[in-house]
């Protein structure tokens, strides 16, 4: 398992160095103008208050939340790679509530939208939890299936019952103003969801570190067999809770995306947040507080990549290579450390 407690800052420093080098090398080898690409990357992500707030931090919000979802699950030994599907059903449920309860005032409607997202995401993850605890189905496989089913569900909703009234475009109509998360000022696209994401991470960090439930979660993830043998922990119950919390957080991310950014539901509402989330969580060494930092880093990367494609003609998909490089480097460093410290592979 990845997720010890050795200096996360140092790992992050390694990873960032690697990121800069590998991107430069790849782009240079592919014949692109590396210098102007980097200038565009920085300008697009942190070159101005607008780029930082409305680009990077808006993009970081779903990454922080889905990253948190993955981190909590992995900490408990649950390989939830279904954050993508949980995000989608959360977005769908949030949109459904926003559209159907449109007469409610904002003070009631916004919490209802977010709660619907949490519940839908948790319910989606619960299926995988039952399959694992009752039927010993690997959650890796079941969550992949559930991701597809969620995508088709959204596709059905936006072409069926939730389609906008003119029935032309495969999307819902725009949600009412009362269902939209407030923004931090008129000149920015940054919305309250970012604050919620930060609060969720800090809350999870505190709970995992200082509460009995957090202790049980860590023990179940570190060594389920020992935890079961010791008889102090009901591992199945802890596992199920980890699924529910993880799914709920990913579902919340979906509802926040609808309520804070897109204002509507459509098919490709997630450009793979649930998968990038795995990189976000691993780079944070599964520490919920560090997820804030790594989520913003990846948000900056993705926001900057759009500018890079626009200004320097560099395909934004190059970000995927950087993400892959980070994960693989972390895996390698982790294994080297473990081998040198214990002499055996666990």
């Amino acid at each position: 398992m990845i997720g010890g407690r050795r200096s996360p800052r140092r790992f992050a420093a390694y990873a960032v160095t690697l990121l800069v080098l590998s991107t430069g090398l790849l782009l240079g080898a592919a014949g692109f103008d590396v210098r102007s690409a980097f200038v565009a990357l920085v300008r697009g992500s942190a070159g101005s208050w607008y780029a930082l707030g409305s680009g990077t931090l808006v993009r970081a919000t779903p990454l922080i939340l889905t990253g948190l979802a993955v981190a909590v699950a992995f900490r408990a030994g649950v390989f939830n790679i279904g954050a993508e599907g949980q995000f989608l059903v959360g977005a769908a449920a949030g949109a459904a509530v926003a559209l159907s309860m449109r007469s409610l005032p904002a003070i009631a409607l916004i919490p209802a939208v977010l709660l619907a997202g949490v519940l839908a995401g948790a319910a989606w993850a619960w299926v995988a939890a039952v399959l694992r605890t009752r039927f010993h189905v690997l959650e890796v496989i079941s969550t992949i299936m559930l991701n597809f089913i969620a995508a088709y569900l959204v596709s059905y909703l936006v072409r069926g019952p939730l389609q906008e009234p003119s029935h032309v475009n495969p999307q819902t109509e725009t949600i009412v103003v009362a269902a939209r998360l407030p923004r931090f000022g008129a000149a920015t696209r940054l919305h309250l969801g970012f604050g919620i994401a930060i609060a969720a991470c800090l809350g999870a960090w505190w709970a995992i570190r200082y509460t009995a439930a957090g202790f049980r979660l860590r023990v179940a993830g570190a060594n389920a067999h020992a935890a079961r043998s010791a008889g102090l922990i009901d591992v199945e119950r802890v596992t199920t809770r980890a699924f529910l919390i993880s799914g709920g957080v990913a579902g919340l991310a979906g509802a926040i995306e609808v309520s804070g950014v897109t204002y509507a539901l459509y098919e490709n509402i997630s450009p793979g947040y649930g998968f990038t989330a795995i990189a976000v969580a691993l780079l944070a060494r599964l520490n919920p507080a560090a997820v804030i930092v790594t989520g913003i880093l990846f948000g900056a990367l993705e926001a900057g990549a759009s500018a890079m494609q626009r200004d320097a003609g560099v395909p934004s998909v190059v970000v995927s290579v950087v993400e892959a490089g980070i994960i693989l480097a972390l895996v390698a460093v982790e294994r080297a450390r473990r081998a040198s410290s214990t002499g055996v592979s666990e």
Partner: protein, 307 residues
């Protein structure tokens, strides 16, 4: 009606072909106790390899480079999971991202930023005399590109290899209990490496099929989830070659059905049929359709062999 049925069968078999090819490779990988979720990336790399090979060395070169790229990517996965004993899920996620990023970037670098619509000659279909005249199934099953016939040949060969040869037994032993297999003198790491390379070649071939036998062009993201679908097919096929082929047909049929429904003008939500194979897979896993058991050592990086 007959024309519609023929078109439906033809589309079913055509859609099932790359899925079956990739799933046959993944089947061997999983029977060896490894789950390679970067299969999605392997197919993407294969499709890109087919483009590169075909533009320089024709169709045969296309298939060769497609398999080569698939093997190369599988090698990266093997390096981390076998040599470093890294977690298979984490590594698989990273390798998929790597493949998506590399193919996207290199495609733009080699073939222009706009990604001009490149047209590649496809291998065309090969009508089998006699068999293609069979009523009902003839045109659908026996008037297809050569890669489809490769699947027909592969199913019995794989069954024989897996259950009637020492090599097949070794693979299954490694997937059930690596420690016991090792005690019996089987070199676990080598078996897993070879299984992964085979899986890479088959995934690459699946990607090559998409480009060289079907689309006749390359597009970013043209693997479109087929790697994950192939993993589902292995599960629904209960980790048996024949089951995998049937499961591939189920998935192929489900996506062909949406065109049939649209052609017939039925108002049923086609997404239901697309989602159905996944629901079936979950149900099969949960034991609704009898006992299904995964290889015991599947996806476990922490096996205590070779220490």
């Amino acid at each position: 009606m007959s024309a519609a049925a023929n078109a439906f069968l033809e589309a079913t078999v055509r859609t099932a072909t790359p899925l079956a090819l990739a799933a046959m490779g993944e089947l061997v990988v999983e029977r060896a106790g490894v789950i390679n979720i970067s299969l999605e990336g392997v197919i993407a790399a294969g499709a890109f390899g087919a483009l590169v090979g075909a533009t320089h060395a024709g169709v045969a070169g296309g298939f060769f480079v497609a398999m080569l790229f698939g093997v190369a990517l599988a090698l990266v996965f093997a390096l981390f999971t076998i040599w470093l004993r890294a977690d298979q899920i984490i590594t698989g996620t990273a390798v998929t991202l790597l493949a998506v990023g590399l193919t996207g970037t290199l495609y733009r670098a080699l073939y222009g930023a706009a990604g001009a619509a490149l047209s590649i000659r496809t291998i065309g279909s090969l009508r089998i005399p006699g068999l293609s005249a069979l009523p009902l199934i003839g045109p659908g099953f026996f008037d297809q590109p050569a890669t489809t016939y490769a699947v027909y040949i592969l199913v019995p060969v794989m069954w024989w290899w897996m259950y009637r040869t020492h090599a097949g037994l070794a693979v299954r032993a490694v997937g059930e209990s690596p420690a016991a297999a090792e005690a019996a003198g089987i070199r676990v790491d080598r078996v897993r490496l070879l299984a992964l390379l085979f899986g890479g070649a088959m995934g690459g071939l699946a990607g090559g099929t998409l480009v060289l036998a079907q689309a006749g062009t390359f597009a970013e993201g043209m693997s479109a989830g087929r790697g994950f679908i192939a993993i589902a097919i292995v599960v629904l096929g209960r980790w048996h070659p024949g089951g995998v082929a049937l499961a591939a047909l189920v998935f192929g049929g489900a996506s062909a059905l949406q065109f049939l429904l649209q052609a017939l003008g039925l108002a049923l939500p086609y997404q239901l049929f697309l989602a159905l194979p996944y629901l079936l897979t979950l149900a099969a896993l949960a034991g609704v359709a009898g006992r299904v058991r995964a290889p015991a050592a599947l996806a476990r990086a922490d096996d205590t062999y070779g220490t």
